[in-house]
């Protein structure tokens, strides 16, 4: 069967002012970035990413496969990446737990892919339909063994689109899985956004037979692609730079695992994105991220309008964690507030990096912070 020519991303979503849910924006952001393979399994509140992909991806020459579970979803995504596609899956907490083993495989084999976790309230089935930010540490440490992580977290639907594009850019640039940590509010809420005419994403560097190193290069080795005659050997076992297994030699494991860390650590400055409000000489600082980031921005504005000397540091990149940014921004403040929809998963990291005392404004139960609640929580702490 001869297929007609694929449509372009702008045929399935027009550039300009749009009104989308976060889940839809993630799907379209992926398509704009060049994603042409999606495998997933239904789960609230991420199912609409799959639904949007099922509708839009086939028209642009992509493939949507609904797998039998989340284990299979991420596995198919990794397989498609080695077959040459930019690929993504989307899930929520329980599915994210199931994906952890293969997420580690993607890290170890240096496979570019994007994993979207639209967080909901756990543990276990928890409050399945309600939002949370409880997977921050799972996104960092969910798979076993020492590994790096790149994790981005959007506060708006615009950021859901833009950060999905960036997630693909980073995945291709560093040959690594990238996690987009959204949440049930952003996933299901509709919001205005501006869709660009086009986006810019790093193109995958495909290895040629001239290369000797395919794996474990701190400067990121070009990626072998199946069907190109390299007879590549890809394994989650410890391997040499040519991909062949060596699971006994200490130095082989040491240099491989350190290299997959170093390729990300060396670019921390570029990887870590954040926004600030207020000068460096504010008395207090709010550190926020994800859905709580937008509420925190409103609270900080109100408090500043009332004359309080308080600044805002909103983290767009959660991992690698911006230790140095936190350290320098909190060096001269008397107190740091960290509001989030969990029991202090980022507050603990901030505490580790900040010289100032840290107040964890934790909240669980499925209701996002409001501006008024946050203002009251901060004022009540005086």
């Amino acid at each position: 069967m001869t297929e007609s020519a694929p449509l372009t991303p702008t045929d399935v979503l027009q550039p300009g002012n749009q009104f989308l849910t976060g889940d839809e924006a993630i799907a379209y952001g992926a398509i704009y970035a060049g994603c042409r393979f999606f495998a997933g399994y239904p789960i609230t509140p991420a199912s609409e990413v799959a639904e949007t992909m099922a509708e839009a991806l086939p028209a642009v020459g992509g493939r949507y496969v609904q797998m039998e579970d989340e284990l299979g979803s991420i596995a198919a995504v990794i397989g498609a990446a080695w077959a040459g596609r930019m690929a993504m899956t989307a899930t929520s907490g329980p599915g994210f737990s199931l994906m952890q083993e293969n997420l580690g495989y993607a890290t170890m084999t240096e496979t570019p892919m994007v994993l979207v976790d639209v967080q909901r309230s756990g543990p276990s089935t928890g409050q399945a339909t309600l939002p949370a930010q409880g997977d921050v540490q799972q996104a960092r440490w969910g798979t076993h063994g020492d590994h790096p992580a790149i994790v981005l977290s959007p506060a708006t639907v615009q950021e859901a689109f833009d950060m999905t594009v960036r997630a693909f850019d980073l995945a291709e640039q560093y040959r690594t899985p990238v996690v987009l940590l959204a949440d049930g509010v952003i996933g299901h809420a509709s919001e205005s956004l501006t869709v660009p005419e086009s986006v810019s994403v790093t193109r995958r560097e495909v290895a040629t037979p001239a290369e000797e190193t395919y794996f474990g290069d701190p400067s990121v080795a070009p990626m072998p692609q199946f069907g190109e005659g390299l007879r590549a050997h890809v394994t989650g076992s410890t391997h040499e730079s040519d991909g062949m297994r060596d699971v006994k030699t200490r130095s082989v494991h040491d240099s491989l695992v350190r290299a997959i860390h170093e390729k990300i650590d060396r670019d921390r400055a570029e990887l870590i994105e954040f926004e600030t409000v207020g000068d460096e000489d504010v008395d207090e600082l709010v550190v926020s991220y994800g859905i709580t980031g937008r509420t925190a921005a409103g609270a900080v504005r109100q408090l500043r309008d009332r004359g309080r000397s308080i600044g805002h540091l909103r983290l767009l990149t959660l991992w690698p964690f911006p230790d140095q940014v936190i350290e320098s921004r909190t060096a001269d403040v008397s107190r740091v507030y960290v509001p989030e929809l969990n029991l202090g998963q980022v507050a603990r990291e901030v505490e580790r990096a900040a010289p100032a005392p840290v107040e964890s404004l934790d909240r669980i139960g499925g209701e996002p912070w409001t501006v008024a609640d946050l203002v009251a929580a901060i004022e009540g702490d005086q």
């Binding site: 399935v12 495998a39 284990l71 397989g79 498609a80 509709s190 205005s192 007879r231 859905i291 209701e367």
Partner: protein, 447 residues
């Protein structure tokens, strides 16, 4: 010593291989290479995918082709991604019974049902060999293993039968005691356009046979032959069906998707309006959520900032439904309309009013349907939404009357943009819905 004729298929630098003496894995590697050679499959089109276990080590690292050595149980799912990602590749899974029929059984079941173009060589040696010989889902009843020291209390799965029942295009079972026939079965599997499984009954004298009075390979091969002779083991083709292959079906989906794309829409004019927090509340089925979506989309297309959430009960009709919108020409900070903060509440029924009244801030605007007025506070504005919908031709167009009224009375979006958005999203009774919207606009303008 004569050279092995298929040596060119092996990664020579990885020799000697790691298989135990007498292992059936060598026969699988040999027969697979023979089939590839006989068929003339271009080596650089081949992708070999395996999981975890002794049989996963048959292709990896021994066979020289693109190789994806994956996690335990997931080889078929990885291979599905490879095959769909690039259908020009010849994707072959070679892995063991524990890997493919135990931990990964679900993927086998669904790849067969999906009929994705894969060849799966499932090497069944009745045990978990790499971990020392534990009982497997394929271990015969009463067999002795390290975790069934008094005999296996379970029956073995008939994995070929399961794959056939799930819809595999081709299923064959063959023993390592019949290598020539095995070559033919592998070749037929590779020629199949769809999901093909070859279950290779293989020997593990080292950790399985020796615990079951078959400590050498010849004893195990004789055991296989005896079972075939006794009619206890069926070999040869188990199933052959002609079903649509998955990737071809996906191509058909793509064609339909391309022909059903929505036409491009004209850019909407910029329009600044009133900043407010709004809730529209009613019963499920009244179209409250649709009205909110159209209003939000139109305002967004006008360049306004809009944030919308919705709530609806699990009952399709009769439960409460509401849409919350925050419209602003500045930044929107809230992630929901906070209780007591709404500037405007539209309540379409008495129960919606009762349930949602607390969202309204003091001094906020309350708009109700005239039929709800008697239970509403005196400051409420009553609008004959239901009556106007009936006048437009259908009581079900009530939500469009509400939409028209809100757009005009509170200057939330450009009226023409809302009309265009209705045209794009309303499929049934479009002229009635348009008329209802216009009546809502008129009601606001004449108020």
């Amino acid at each position: 010593m004569s050279a092995y004729p298929l040596l060119e298929y092996l990664r020579r630098e990885e020799l000697p291989h790691t298989m135990c003496p007498g292992c059936g894995g060598g026969t699988v590697l040999n027969t697979f290479a023979r089939a590839i050679d006989d068929m003339g499959v271009p080596r650089d089109d081949l992708v070999l995918v395996s999981g975890i276990g002794c049989s996963a080590w048959i292709p990896s690292p021994n066979f020289e082709a693109d190789t994806l050595h994956t996690t335990h149980g997931r080889a078929i799912a990885y291979a599905t991604g490879v095959a769909v990602g690039n259908p020009d590749l010849e994707t072959v899974v070679i892995s063991g019974d524990g890997d493919l029929a135990g931990i990964g059984g679900n993927h086998l079941l669904h790849a067969a049902r999906r009929n994705v173009d894969l060849t799966v060589i499932l090497v069944n040696n009745f045990t978990y060999g790499m971990t020392g010989g534990q009982v497997a889902p394929t271990t015969p009843h009463d067999s002795i293993t390290t975790t069934s020291p008094f005999g296996n209390p379970e029956d073995a799965i008939d994995i070929s039968g399961v794959a056939a029942e799930a819809g595999a295009a081709f299923v064959a079972r063959q023993t390592t005691s019949r290598p020539q026939t095995l070559v033919n079965d592998i070749a037929r599997a590779m020629q199949t356009d769809g999901f093909a499984l070859v279950e290779v009954v293989s020997q593990c004298p080292t950790v399985y046979g020796r615990r079951n009075e078959m400590a050498t390979a010849p004893e195990m091969l004789e055991w296989m032959e005896a079972q075939i002779d006794a009619g206890e083991l069926t070999v040869g083709t188990i199933a052959e069906t002609d079903r649509p292959e998955f990737i071809e079906s996906l191509e058909a989906v793509s064609e339909r998707a391309r022909s059903e794309q929505m036409p491009a829409e004209d850019a909407a004019p910029d329009h600044d309006g009133r900043d407010l927090l709004l809730r529209i509340a009613g019963e499920g089925g009244q179209g409250v959520v649709t009205a909110g979506s159209i209003l939000g989309e139109a305002a967004a297309r006008n360049g306004r900032n809009v944030f919308k959430t919705e709530e609806y009960g699990s009952r399709a009709r009769g439960g409460l439904a509401s849409a919350d919108l925050i419209l602003s020409d500045g930044e929107i900070f809230e992630a929901a309309v906070p209780s007591g903060d709404a500037d405007l509440l539209v309540a379409l029924t008495p129960s919606a009013l009762q349930a949602h009244q607390s969202v309204l801030k003091s001094g906020g605007d309350l708009v109700v349907d005239e039929t709800t007025l008697e239970t509403a506070p005196s400051e409420a504005t009553a609008v004959p939404f239901e009556r106007l919908a009936e006048e437009a031709g259908d009581a079900r167009a009530l939500n469009m009357v509400v939409l028209g009224y809100l757009t005009a009375a509170f200057d939330l979006a450009d009226v023409g943009t809302v009309r265009g958005t209705i045209d794009r999203h309303v499929e049934r009774l479009l002229s009635t819905n348009r008329r209802a919207f216009d009546l809502g606009v008129e009601a606001a303008e004449s108020a």
